[in-house]
Amino acid sequence: MAKTIAQEFTKGLWKEIPPFRLVLGLCPVLGVTTTMENGIGMGLATTFVLICSNILISALRKIIPPKVRIACFIIIIATFVIVVELVMQAYAYPLFLTLGLFIPLIVVNCIVLGRAEAFASRNGIVRSIADGLGMGIGFTLSLAALGGIREVLGTGSFYLYGHGGLVFGPSFEPFTFVIQAPGAFVCLGLMLCIMNLFE
């Protein structure tokens, strides 16, 4: 029954990989993944919040009264989100502008609150770090994959931190549907379908 710390970490990478297995936190998944770079930026911001809030909530789990626990969790999470917001504004301003609305919305990202409620409030600090790290990396990987697929199909080119270029050559007609709003839903649905095939 008791899982090792390594298992807590790896479950976030495939068995319970956040946006696919646990259908939580879909808004940033759909909203910011027009390029791989945005996906990675959003994923890392969420990972930071996830790990920090997991640590603090796990450390305070015996002090927080159960009746007001959700409110306490939200305040802790919101604090770290403001930290991310201010740091990003100072050091990664272009990314801050592209992610825009979705940074304050990490507060209400169901994954962060979900992990706080389902895991960090019941487990020790080390296990909570492992859980947060695994879930965060899984989330980042999913965002990067979805962003990469949409970028390549939707624009015909691929850029990652200044490197890259055309993927299919200049005669390729970009499949613009994929990069627009409806394409995000369809892409995510088809990716989930492919993952189900490998069950």
Binding site: C27, L101, V107, A181, P182, V186, G189, L190, L192
Partner: protein, 193 residues
């Protein structure tokens, strides 16, 4: 958005900038509560109720507390606390005074705290620098747009349960593809306002 008339704001928020399908906010309840029509209607009503109130209160908090005291960077934490408190308050109020409505909305009210459509709409109202009345109209428009998309989606999803869907595509997967097609339909409103 700030130079639009009231009617244009409502139309734009319901159709063109639909909060679920164009802005991608509030997708967890969109997929979570759309399996049955009843739950979808309950969620839609609860969102309309809370979002309009939250839009008004966060606007007042932002312009009369955060801006004068130079605390704008605390916006996120202030708004989420206001929304959480508001949801609790509404829940208590409804339980005492309108039990019928409470029985209908019941379980959906607490879920709204973590519905990013509510926080998102409040932040959009502030970012677009809308006046108080306009942000009320915009909140209402966003909430109705949320309800409309959710109820349409629930209708389609109820039909899908009767269809024979390939095994890997079942449930959430086909749900997402369906949502994509509904989003495509809403996409055709682009350029209307």
């Amino acid at each position: 958005m700030s130079e639009m008339g009231y009617f244009q704001i409502i139309i734009s928020c319901i159709f063109v900038n639909n909060i679920l399908l164009a802005k991608f906010l509030g997708n967890c309840p969109f997929l979570g509560t759309s399996r049955k029509m009843e739950t979808a209607v309950g969620m839609a009503m609860a969102v309309v109720f809370v979002l309009v109130l939250a839009g008004a209160i966060t606007w007042i908090i932002y312009h009369y507390f955060l801006v004068p005291f130079d605390l704008v960077y605390l916006r996120t934490i202030a708004f989420i606390l206001v929304i959480a408190a508001l949801v609790q308050f509404v829940e208590l109020f409804l339980k005492k005074s309108i039990p019928v409505l409470y029985a209908g909305l019941g379980i959906f009210l607490p879920l709204i705290t973590t519905n990013c459509a509510v926080l998102g709409a409040c932040v959009i109202n502030i970012d677009e620098e809308l006046s108080f009345m306009k942000s009320l109209f915009a909140s209402f428009g966003f909430a109705v747009g949320f309800g409309l998309a959710l109820i349409l989606f629930a209708g389609v999803r109820e039909r899908i349960t009767l269809a024979r869907v390939p095994k890997p595509l079942q449930d959430t997967s086909i749900g997402l593809v369906t949502a994509g097609l509904i989003a495509l339909a809403f996409f055709s409103f682009n350029g209307m306002v």
